[in-house]
């Protein structure tokens, strides 16, 4: 299959890649760019493990063609922290026990970021809705909801 040259901007860095057009964004992130923080599980948009942000919106990267991700700002879990400095959402996840096996965590955090950036003062019902596309089997969601609420307060203080 003919390869295409694409330019992707991921976590602020521009990458020039040569890929088959059938490659999805999650495949390119993980296989071409070595950014394995974004996970793959169902591959059909029903679990949220592959959630990344495109222009600030949460997307199922298993259903985005890498070709269609050109010209967009892509943010993955690796792009959230700055060196050792964690994003408030990450701090909150650590503090409030939102992480167990950690496999849903990257997707969960990215969904939370997209949500809090638009809804700085959420209710718990709104939080549950924001992460309703991210399956978790370990935590029962309570601590994740608590973390996102706590993060919203932290982020408000900072601004």
């Amino acid at each position: 299959m003919k390869q295409e040259e694409i330019l992707l901007k991921v976590n602020g860095t521009n990458y020039r890649l040569s890929i088959e057009p059938r490659r999805t964004l999650v495949e390119v992130l993980r296989e071409n760019l070595g950014l394995t923080g974004t996970k793959k599980s169902c591959n059909e948009g029903d679990c949220g493990a592959c959630t990344v942000l495109m222009d600030g919106r949460p997307v199922a990267s298993c259903l985005v063609l890498a070709m269609d991700a050109q010209g967009r700002e892509i943010l993955t879990i690796e792009g959230l922290s700055e060196g050792q400095k964690l994003h408030p959402i990450q701090e909150a996840f650590l503090k409030h026990g939102a992480i167990q096996c950690g496999f849903c965590t990257p997707g969960m955090v990215m969904s939370a970021k997209a949500f809090l950036d638009q809804n700085p003062e959420p209710t718990t019902v709104e939080i549950r809705k924001a992460i309703s596309g991210n399956l978790c089997r370990c935590t029962g969601y309570q601590h994740i909801v608590d973390s996102i609420m706590a993060a919203s307060k932290m982020m408000q203080k900072k601004s």
Binding site: S41, A49, L94, H96, G102, H143
Partner: protein, 759 residues
Amino acid sequence: MGEYSVVGKSVERTDGRVKVTGKAKYAGDLVAPGMLHGKLLRSPLAHAKILNVDTNRAKALPGVIGVITGKDFPGIPYGTRPDTRDQLPMPITKVHHFGEGVAAVAAMDEDTAEEALDLIKVDYEELPVVLTAEDALKPDAPLVNEFSKSNLAYFSDFNFGDIEKGFKEADYIREEKFSSQRVTVGFIEPHACLAEVDPTGRVLLQGSKQSPYITWRHMCRALDIPLSGMRIVNPFVGGAFSGKHDPFDVDFAAAKLAQITGRPVKIVLNYDEVLAAYRQRNAMDARLKIGVRKNGAITALRAECILEGGPICGIGPFNVYYFGAFLNIPYKIPAIEYHGKLVYSNRAPCGTVRGQEITLAQFALDSLLHMVAEDLHIDQVEIRTINAVTDHWRTANGMMVDVSGLPKCIEKSAEKIKWQESRKGRPKGRGIGFSCASHPSGPRLGGHFGSSVILKLVEDGKVVLTHGGTEIGQGANTVFCQMAAEVLGLPFEDIIQGVSDSDTAILDSGMFGDRCTYWDGNATILAAKDLKRQLAEIAAKELKADPEELEFKSKRIFTKGNPEKGIDFLLAVRRAYYDQGTPLYGRGYWAATDIDIVDWKTGKGNLAHGLDFIATAIELEVDKETGKVTLIKAAHGDDAGQPINPLLLEGQVNGGSTHLAGQALLEESLYDEKGRALNFTWRDYKQPTSMDAPEYVVEHVHTHDPYGPFGAKGAGEASSCSTMAAIANGVCDAVGVRIKDLPITPEKILKALKEKEAK
């Protein structure tokens, strides 16, 4: 109990940072130079002879480096028990369930591997299928497993106490049938494995496996390699819940392809494969008969159950014993008779799932207890309090309850859910359901059951802790580090979690049955004490004191009661390394050899220490027009002895409860009449989302377990065991209908409501 510095505190998980930044590596993230990608070809039939597998065209496809089938393995069956060795790495003569892997390909890239699958031609001869327990036990039923002469895979029968007398003494007797459905395990990370063979021929396996020991023993046997010929290094595991103990075709195929091609081979599944063909919880049919006195106190229990477990025994023999064994707990039952059967079938193979069979037994028992309480007009909290086991209770089948916080658990959950207030009045359609449960802290299933921990004290004063288990999310790594820090008087941050590598870590029977905190925890304490002893000797010389009189706290070693007479912890370390050239290792091994290896067929014995207790109250709402159930709040009173890390413990309680709420209300693995899976994608297999889960409140009831590390008990699975009955009972309390076959669907509720109205 006492004042602890690290134990009992909700410290941040040791692996939290790497997980929250996306740096943690799971099996699917691993790469090795020259790595090939593997894929499995799956059977479209549930039961069929394999007449021929033609792999020639696949082998000829450019980019394909190796193709294997079941015939590439030595043909040595393996199994959980010596008398239940009924599994092969990959099938040879026949396929036993839909989606069973019949061939595997390793290619230069994933696309080529997928393409190659289409070029493999398998000739099948379809066989009639066995789907239910009823099918399995018919006299002319086709035999499912080629290593067994019967579809009756295992059985367990026991009779303790005087059952006749028990029923005679009862003022009231009730008998009911219950059943539960096939469900998947539901961890989010699909199976994945990277296998390599080193230049000396040793296999290195890095997979999403829960219990390295179990994987190792089975794989070496079935690959016919010596135990020293395999090394397992565990990456992080994305959830397991007992669905990842056994090696699967994924692991075997990766290893065999690595052996054949001489290159590393990685196989990563998509989740639909997991839902179609991998571990599920067995379906259950049970009949329970209970006798109680006027005040609700139980006098006798008779139970029968059949578990339908797919084409392998697996841990099934233990499951069928466990169902009956744990009917003896958490209530005082003076006499019990139990008959359990495990049968083979052509549905997906079963292992066990979070809470094991206790979830099913408790669903039946606590539903029945609710019914009895209703009949006798006894308050639901009262009947459970009356029957709750207390300290030093010995069950009819010989299990010893050392310490029981259950009465207090019941009190607290009732308080948190506002039980009394709800009896005075509540909105229409609202109800509260109770259930209690108990889960042991690691049963002793065989002579080889034990845990070991090694502590290496590094020259800079930090400790590297390795144990033979796996961090599957439960927080095992973290609590062990907490315990080591506590014993050695070091800050939590000074204990570093080492890699789980079978070459350096030692025996651990596995991460299941709530055994980790308890067994590995005790091993950690012993390892830390071993290290402490060595350091105390050095410090004693330095301080001219008696090593027995030394205390370790805040990175110092000093004489008891006289903190100034002491030295820095680091000084003792350096004395060893730099003055004596002595490395410092702490070794700890713990096995509860004082409890019994119970005979699963006859069931008597003290199976485990550290019985933990939980009382669960769930408030829910039933929409009488649609039949839909909305979970509002769950209040758990949990006795896990001394919580080592309260935040992690609560996470376990919440998680188990949501998981089993899924089985109670939403989940079912469906099959058609030919045994083909119907809903093997997450589009149609409904696990709870954040909007399905209720709000959780967890109240810790502190007790002190005499055998547990710092008095702790295992806590991972109690809430899994109590949730289903609590939901079923809540539905009853809300709208007066009793659903006894899981899942509790809106359709069943509406049907029951109509029947009730008709009366």
